[in-house]
Each structure stands twice: as C-alpha cells, then as structure tokens.
Symmetry: C2
Subunit: 289 residues, 2 copies
C-alpha cells in the first residue's frame, strides 16, 4: 500500500475511523528531516503495530524567538520517500493553520523540571513540546508512540505527562543512533560545515571521558562533570551550554555519589555562524557493564 | 442493568474495552453531591449516548489552600441512588491515590483568561479543573461530555481546551437549573443556613436588575454593572467578589456598548461562618427576547 499523506485533522480522523476496530495504531512524532535515528523508531513501530503513522510537523510552539524555526530543514519529498520505503501507512503533515485555532490559549506545563538543562536556555520549549505531543495524541489516538533517547529530557517529560494525565498510550524509548565517529544523529547536523562537523565530536568525546571517569572508584559527581567539561573546552569552536549529571529516574541532579542510574546530559553550541546548538546524553554505568 | 461503580483507572479501562466498538460513550464529570442541575446533564446524556458514565471525584487540584476541599459534601450513597434512578451505566469514583502518580507534575494551563473573574480570587483553580477534566477524558474516552452553564468561565475554558488540544470530544453545555425563587442550583447551597439561604438570592436578583437595565436604550456597560452591584449591596450579609459584563464569545470584558452577546458574570460571598462563595451568570439579551 502506498503511504498516504494526511494534510489535516479531518483527513486523519476520516482515515482512522475507517480502520477495523482493534487495529493497533503506532505514532512516530517527528519534525521531519528524517535520519537514521527516526528510521529506527519507524522500523520498531512497523514491527509492533498494525498501522504506522509518522507525523511531520515543525512545531512553532517549541522554538524560541531567536531560534531556527524558519531555517529548520523541511525536505518533505525525501522524507516521504523514506517513509514509503519503510512501509509507513500514513504521514500526518498538517498546516499550522489546521492545527492551531485562532484563539489558541491552552498549554501543557511540565513543572520545575522544564526549567532545568535544555529548559534553562530554551524557555517555553518543553511546554511547546508537551502541548504539540498531546495534540498529536488526540488527533491520531495511537496505542503506542516512539521517542528517541537523544532528547532525554523531552522523553522523560513526555513519559511523565502520559502518566500524570492518564493517557492510555505506551511510550517506547529508543536508543540514540550515532554516526560512525560518535556524533549523535540529529536533524540539526545538516547545519554543520566541515570544521563545525569536526567540532561537533566534542559532545560524544565528553561522554567518552565521563564514561572512563566513572571507572575510577569513588569518583564524585563534580569530578565527572569536570572531566567532561574539560573535553568540551579543548575545542575552541565549542561553547558549553550545560553539562549535568542526573539521576535518570528523577531527572534531578545527582548527589555526590555517582549511582548506577547516573546519566550525563549535555548541550553545546558549535560556533558556526549562526551557532548550532547540539545535545547528547548517555547512561554512564550501563547495567551491561 | 444496575449502575456499576468503577473505583480505579484499571477498572474503567477494563469495562470500556469490553464495550462493543461504535458504542457512543457519554461522560458527565461531577464532584458529586448531585442536584437537579447535574440530573439535567445526566438525562441529556442518557438520551444522546449508548453508555453513560458519571464521574464523582472531589478534585483537590481545583481547591485553594483555604477553600472548602475537606468539608465539600460527599454523599455517595445518595448520589449512587440518583444515578441508578437515571439508568447511568457506570459511576467512575476513584481514590485520589489511583488518580495522581507520586511525582505528579504536568498541568494544563488556560492562559490569561484563567486569571480573570473566578480565577482572580481562586488562583490555580482553572488549571486544576482543566487538568482533571483532561485526565477524565483520557480515562473514560467519551465521545461527548456535558457541563453546566452555571460555571460559565469553566465551560468556556474547557471548550477552548478541547479545541486547542484537538480532543475529539463534543462538549454539550446545559442551561442553569434554578430553585423556584431563582437561586442557581449548586452543591455548595447545602452550606447555607436560613438567613444565608435568603441572602443567596442576591445573585439572581442582581441578574434580574441587569436584565431590566439592558432594556434601557443605549445603556452603558458601566451602568449595567452598577445596577447589578447595587442589588448585591442591598444585602448586608453579602460581600461582592466580582460583577463583570463580558462578551460571551471571547470571555473578555465588554466595551462600552452592550452587545447581544453580553453575559453578566458574578460571584459573591454569603456571610455565613465560614463564608460561602456563590457564582451565577446570565446572557442579558437572549436571542429569544
């Protein structure tokens, strides 16, 4: 079956209502510019569900005033071909005018955790994410939805929203997919020029240093952060946004002891013009180690 | 069929999953202490839908610190009999521990309109309402839900939340039901003693004065509010919270001209000990006039 394109809420509703009852519907929410990370979500959805919807919508609510909303890549033809190739049943690709009512005024807030880490440098970002995700959930009514661990804080807040607001939807996290040299896949990598692309390795290299650091018995949180930060600082074209060591069960900063649930979260600007903000994260003490 | 009692999200899910597909489900969200106003919603739901769920949950999120959460009436046996009598299919009557996860932190905010009128004296109230209503919508998954016009600001914000967040649910507003002497039905009327009960008429009498006022050609908004306020002030045991004239299409304060869409909103404390806060509202120029 060819992949259908749904350009409005009404078109989505019509199609979804036509499905046999008990059809298991999967949603992979994206902003398009699909890469291997997205494809891993789509492949997993294809395995799990009867009907796979990929949403492609560059959500204005989650961009700040001086961020890259207008230049964010929108290669729809290429995305469509990739979805077709993965036997996606439908792409939900609405216009913003179809999504937002004229007097739009209701948002979902995620509380104090939305002010930390990425939320600190991107005020309003997570409210924008939670709001659009809830809208997509209400429109597509999936049984299951897939999110990448690259945006770990986002994943955490979405899982909590689903639990808090009693959405009857399974949230499946999927591991970060990386380039051969370690750079985490991101639609924003397209912004990187040659030197920027090399500088971008600072993030995965910082994670590598932190992973090595936690092999030292009784190392403190501070020292782990220090070693990861030192790697970022070795790259003159890289400007640190934050390096934090959190308990991945609560997303709160870790105490001094580095627990098995320690996850390093970091963000940095790679100084192209305009600067490209990249994020990465990793569990430092994977249970497999 | 006897009315079933569902005491948890899991029990609700199990029952709802057992219904034949295409069953039209109606939800009447309440905090219990059912009166004739609630019964009008339930009767209408019974006419419209295949399966009627009444939720009875005194929602802590929508009460302020010094409000009446703990003394709010909870006559469950009586409510059950009333639901049974109206052939309600199920009562959703969960425990707060079933509803709120330990690390609860996601809320729905309704923007600046939640700071006006009732929101001014009840900070956080509407976020509490919108949040619990969205939770009930996710748990019961109704096709249609019923709300009384007595809580007009609440109804407005819920309708807007449903539109904004793309809930696929019809919201049916139902007219205020009044006692023979004009007092709007409310679960809080139970708090009124003899003199308080007489003073409570101040609100419907103020509406009556405003209705008469708008018969005067070219009367201004200010004058209408003045006349309604004067009525409240005639009752020494009544303390005004607010008297506002709004455009019911936007809920914003009306300009000086009194339009056909002018709705008077008011709230007052009736000075029993502790004071009882009552609200009322009316369209001043009904299309039928």
């Amino acid at each position: 079956m060819p992949t259908q394109i749904l350009e409005s809420k009404a078109a989505a509703k019509k199609l979804l209502c036509s499905l046999p009852s008990r059809t298991r519907v999967a949603l992979v929410p994206t902003m398009g510019s699909l890469h291997a990370g997205h494809l891993s979500l789509i492949k997993r959805a294809r395995q799990d569900a009867d009907f796979v919807v990929v949403s492609i919508f560059v959500n204005p609510l989650q961009f700040g005033k001086n961020e890259d909303f207008s230049r964010y890549p929108r290669p729809f033809e290429k995305d469509f071909a990739l979805c077709q190739n993965e036997s996606v049943d439908a792409i939900f690709h609405p216009d913003a005018r179809d999504i937002f009512s004229g007097s739009f005024g209701s948002t979902i807030e995620g509380g104090p955790l939305t002010k930390l880490y990425c939320g600190k440098s991107r005020p309003g970002h997570f409210a924008g994410v939670l709001t659009i995700v809830s809208m997509l959930f209400h429109i597509i009514k999936p049984h299951v939805a897939y999110f990448g661990e690259k945006d770990f804080q986002q994943l955490f807040l979405i899982k909590r929203m689903v639990r808090d607001l009693c959405f009857d939807i399974d949230i499946v996290p999927m591991p970060i997919v990386r380039e051969a040299d370690g750079l985490a896949m991101s639609s924003r990598n397209i912004y990187l020029d040659g030197p920027g692309r090399r500088s971008a390795l600072a993030l995965s290299q910082a994670i590598k240093a932190a992973r090595e650091a936690v092999q030292t018995p009784e190392i403190t949180r501070k020292e782990v952060i220090h070693r990861a930060t030192a790697v970022l600082e070795k790259y003159p074209e890289v400007r640190k946004d934050y390096v934090s060591l959190v308990d991945e069960r609560t997303l709160l900063p870790l105490g001094d002891e580095v627990l098995k649930t320690a996850r390093l979260l970091l963000a940095a600007y790679v100084c192209n013009e305009p600067a490209v903000r990249l994020i990465d994260n990793a569990l430092l003490t994977p249970t497999s180690s």
